[in-house]
C-alpha cells in the first residue's frame, strides 16, 4: 500500500445521504474473481442517468468524493472500497461513516475523512460553483483545503499512522514476522497438517 501524506485532486460533490454499499456497488458485481477492475460497477444504478455527477466533466476525473452523512452503510462488502479506488478516488469525505466501511477503507488505503456537516455544505457549494476545483487533503495536518477554504477532519490516530506509513494489515503484521516464526517453533509436533501424502 502506498503511503498517503497529502493528495490533491478534483472534488466531487455527492449530495446524498445514506449511500449504502448496494448503491456504491450492486451485488451482481460480487461474482467476479479479481481484485481489480470494479470501476464500472461504481454507483452503477445512478450512472445510467446522464445528469449524475460522475457523468459530467470534469467530475468524471474526480478523486475526492464529498458525500452526505452515513456513507457506506449496509453490507460489509469490501468491493465498495475497491470500486471507489479503482475509479480513482483516494479520499471520501462525509460527516458520518458506517463502521465497517471505515474499517475496510483503512485496510485498502482509502482515506475516510470525517468532516462536520456544516463544513461539508461549504465544500459542496464551492465545488458546485466552481466545477473542477482542486481539493487538497493533508493527512498529517488533518485538513481539507480548496481555494481559500480550509476545514479540519477527523480520523483515528491508529488509522492515520497506518495510512501515513503505507502499511496495509498484512504489512503491519509482517513487522512482527520474527515473533510469528518464534511462535511457530513452540507449536507441538502433534498438531494436524493438511499436507497431502
Amino acid at each position: 500500500m502506498e503511503p498517503f501524506k497529502t493528495h490533491t485532486g478534483i472534488g466531487v460533490p455527492l449530495r446524498r445521504s445514506n449511500v449504502d454499499t448496494d448503491q456504491i456497488i450492486p451485488a451482481v458485481y460480487l461474482k467476479r474473481v479479481t481484485r481489480t477492475g470494479f470501476q464500472d460497477g461504481l454507483f452503477s444504478a445512478w450512472r445510467g442517468d446522464e445528469s449524475f455527477i460522475l457523468n459530467q466533466e470534469p467530475f468524471s476525473r474526480g478523486s475526492v468524493l464529498v458525500a452526505g452523512p452515513d456513507f457506506g452503510t449496509g453490507s460489509s462488502r469490501e468491493h465498495a472500497v475497491w470500486a471507489l479506488m479503482d475509479y480513482g478516488f483516494r479520499v471520501v469525505i462525509s460527516s458520518r461513516f458506517a463502521d465497517i466501511f471505515r474499517g475496510n477503507s483503512a485496510k485498502q488505503g482509502l482515506v475516510a475523512a470525517q468532516v462536520a456537516q456544516p463544513d461539508v455544505e461549504l465544500l459542496w457549494k464551492l465545488l458546485e460553483n466552481e466545477p473542477g476545483v482542486e481539493v487538497t487533503v493533508d493527512l498529517e495536518e488533518k485538513t481539507v483545503q480548496a481555494r481559500d477554504l480550509t476545514v479540519p477532519f477527523e480520523i483515528d490516530d491508529y488509522t492515520r499512522w497506518r495510512l501515513l506509513e503505507g502499511l496495509d494489515d498484512i504489512g503491519l503484521t509482517m513487522r512482527h514476522v520474527d515473533e510469528i516464526t518464534a511462535f511457530e517453533a513452540t507449536r507441538p509436533g502433534r498438531l494436524p497438517t493438511t499436507a497431502q501424502v
Binding site: K31, R32, V33, T34, R35, T36, S76, E78, N104, K107, Q108, D156, D157, Y158, D168, D169, I170, L172, T173, M174, H176, V177, E179, I180, F183, E184, R187, P188, G189, R190, L191, P192, T193, T194, A195, Q196
Partner: protein, 470 residues
C-alpha cells in the same frame, strides 16, 4: 481468577499481545478455503508479490457452487465454473492442497474438516464462511472471516483481533436428555428465538449443561454451526470423551504417543469453575418440542404446535414491523396453525444437517413411506464420504423408494448458488441454517426445520413431526 474455555484457547495462540488500541495477534492452526471467498484473496497476494506462508495448515474444497447432479460434466453455469476453475488455478499456483469435485474427500468445507480429523480441540480454525463456527463443537475457536482476512491468514498465518466477550448458554433437562422427536437443531432454533439474531453479537458462546454433554459430536456441530445466526463470533463446546472417541483413528488425528499427549492436553480445555462469563443464558430443555421458523430470519421460530404469530400483538416496534414484512413475504396469515403450512420442497442437507446422523434420522422416518404428491424432496449429503457411507447403509435406496432425489455432495439448496433453487413463491422445509428472503432462490420461502421434521413434512406435505405420522 479462572478462565473460560475460549480464553484458554485464545491465550494459547497469542503471538503478540496488542498494546493500547492495537489488537492481539493470534496464530491460526487451520485455514479452510473454498471457491467463493478466496479468489480476491489470492489475487491480492499476487498483486503484492506474497506467497502462502503455511500451505500445510491450509486446505481447500469446492462446495458452494458445485452441482449435485451430473457431477462428471463441466459446470454449466459460467460464473460458478469460473469460481471453481479459479480456485483450482490458485491452489496449483500457491501450493494449497485441494479436494476438487469428484474427489473422495470433497464436500462442504465444514463437513470435510471434522471428518478428516483436522478439526481438533484447542485449535484456532478460520474460513471465509460464517458457518465456520461449526468446528467449535470440538472445543476449537472457529470463526468466519472476510476476504481480506483470508488474504491476511494466507500471507501470515495470523490474524489481528480484539478479544471476544464470552457467554454461557446452559442447556439442561432433568435427566440430561431431550424429549423424543427433539433434536439439537430444535435446541439451537429455540436458543436463537430466545436471545435473538443479535443476542450473541461480540460474544463467543459456550454451550454447556447436561443436555450438551449427552449429545453426539454431529449433534454438537449442528448447534455450534448456527451460533452465527445468533450474531455470535463463534460457538464452543468443551471437549470430552465423546469428542476423543469421535477423533480417535481419523486420518489427521494424532496417533500413538502423540494421541495420549493430545488427550492429556485436551482434558485441560474446560472452563475453570471460578471463571466468570460476561453473560449467561439458561435453556430449559424439558420444555423443548420440535421447532420451526415462520419468518425470514432464524430468530423467528416457534414450536411446531404453535400458530403463526400475530404481529399486532408484538410490543417491540422493530420486531412488529419485521414480523409483518416476514408474513407478507412468506405468504402466511396470522393465527394459522404452523402444522397447516403446505410446502413444495423439502431439503435435507447443508453443513448444519448434512451428516450421517441427519440422513439416518430422516431415512428412518421416511422408510416405507412416500413423499406426498406435489412435493419434491432433495437429499444432499454434506460430503462425498457421507454420500458413500449412506449408500453403503442403503439410505440412498430408502430415499429413492420414498420418491426423494438422492444427490451428490455440496451446499446445494442451502444457498442456491448452484442449480438447486426454489422458484419464486415456492415454499420449503429445509434443514439448512438461513431463511433469509431469497436465500434458496429468488422469491423462495424457507422454513428451517430438523431432519426429523423435514422427513415427516415430506410425507404429509405440511409442516409435521414424526409423531404426526402415526
Amino acid at each position: 481468577m479462572g478462565r473460560t474455555l475460549a480464553e484458554k484457547v485464545w491465550d494459547q495462540h497469542l503471538v503478540r499481545e496488542g498494546e493500547g488500541q492495537e489488537p492481539d495477534l493470534l496464530y491460526i492452526d487451520l485455514h479452510l478455503v473454498h471457491e467463493v471467498t478466496s479468489p480476491q484473496a489470492f489475487d491480492g497476494l499476487r498483486l503484492a508479490g506474497r506467497r502462502v506462508r503455511r500451505t500445510d495448515l491450509t486446505v481447500a474444497t469446492e462446495d458452494h457452487n458445485v452441482p449435485t447432479t451430473d457431477v462428471e460434466l463441466p459446470i454449466a453455469d459460467p460464473v460458478s465454473r469460473t469460481q471453481v476453475e479459479t480456485l483450482r488455478k490458485n491452489c496449483a499456483e500457491f501450493g494449497v492442497p485441494l479436494y476438487p469435485m469428484n474427489h473422495a474427500e470433497q464436500g462442504i468445507v465444514h463437513v470435510v474438516g471434522p471428518q478428516l480429523g483436522l478439526t481438533q480441540p484447542g485449535l484456532t480454525v478460520v474460513c471465509g464462511d460464517s458457518h465456520t463456527s461449526t468446528h467449535g463443537a470440538f472445543g476449537a475457536m472457529a470463526f468466519g472471516i472476510g476476504t481480506s482476512e483470508v488474504e491476511h491468514v494466507l500471507a501470515t498465518q495470523t490474524l489481528p483481533l480484539k478479544r471476544f466477550k464470552t457467554m454461557a448458554i446452559n442447556v439442561n433437562s432433568k435427566d440430561g436428555t431431550l424429549r423424543p422427536g427433539v433434536t439439537s437443531k430444535d435446541v439451537v432454533l429455540a436458543i436463537i428465538a430466545q436471545i435473538g439474531t443479535g443476542g450473541g453479537q461480540g460474544y463467543v458462546l459456550e454451550y454447556r449443561g447436561n443436555v450438551i454433554e449427552n449429545l453426539s459430536m454431529e449433534a454438537r456441530m449442528t448447534i455450534c454451526n448456527m451460533s452465527i445466526e445468533a450474531g455470535a463470533r463463534a460457538g464452543m463446546i468443551a471437549p470430552d470423551d465423546t469428542t476423543f472417541e469421535y477423533l480417535k483413528g481419523r486420518d489427521r488425528a494424532p496417533k500413538g504417543v502423540e494421541w495420549d499427549e493430545a488427550v492429556a492436553a485436551w482434558r485441560e480445555l474446560r472452563t475453570d469453575d471460578d471463571a466468570v462469563f460476561d453473560a449467561e443464558v439458561d435453556i430449559d430443555a424439558d420444555a423443548l418440542t420440535p421447532f420451526v421458523t415462520w419468518g425470514t430470519n432464524p430468530g423467528q421460530g416457534l414450536p411446531l404446535g404453535d400458530r403463526v404469530p400475530d404481529p399486532a400483538k408484538i410490543v417491540d416496534e422493530n420486531e412488529r414491523v419485521s414480523a409483518e414484512k416476514a408474513l407478507t413475504y412468506m405468504g402466511l396469515e396470522a393465527g394459522m396453525p404452523l402444522r397447516d403450512i403446505h410446502v413444495d420442497t423439502v431439503f435435507v442437507g447443508s453443513c448444519t444437517n448434512g451428516r450421517m446422523e441427519d440422513l439416518r434420522a430422516a431415512a428412518e422416518v421416511i422408510k416405507g413411506r412416500k413423499v406426498a404428491d406435489g412435493v419434491r424432496m432433495l437429499v444432499v449429503p454434506g460430503s462425498m464420504r457421507v454420500r458413500f457411507q449412506a449408500e453403503a447403509e442403503g439410505l440412498d435406496e430408502v430415499f429413492r423408494e420414498a420418491g426423494a432425489e438422492w444427490r451428490s455432495a455440496g451446499c446445494s439448496m442451502c444457498l442456491g448458488m448452484n442449480p438447486d433453487q426454489l422458484a419464486p413463491g415456492e415454499r420449503s422445509a429445509s434443514t439448512s441454517n438461513r431463511n433469509f428472503e431469497g436465500r434458496q432462490g429468488k422469491g423462495g420461502r424457507t422454513h428451517l426445520v430438523s431432519p426429523l421434521v423435514a422427513a415427516a413434512t415430506a410425507v404429509r406435505g405440511t409442516l409435521s413431526s414424526p409423531e404426526d405420522l402415526n
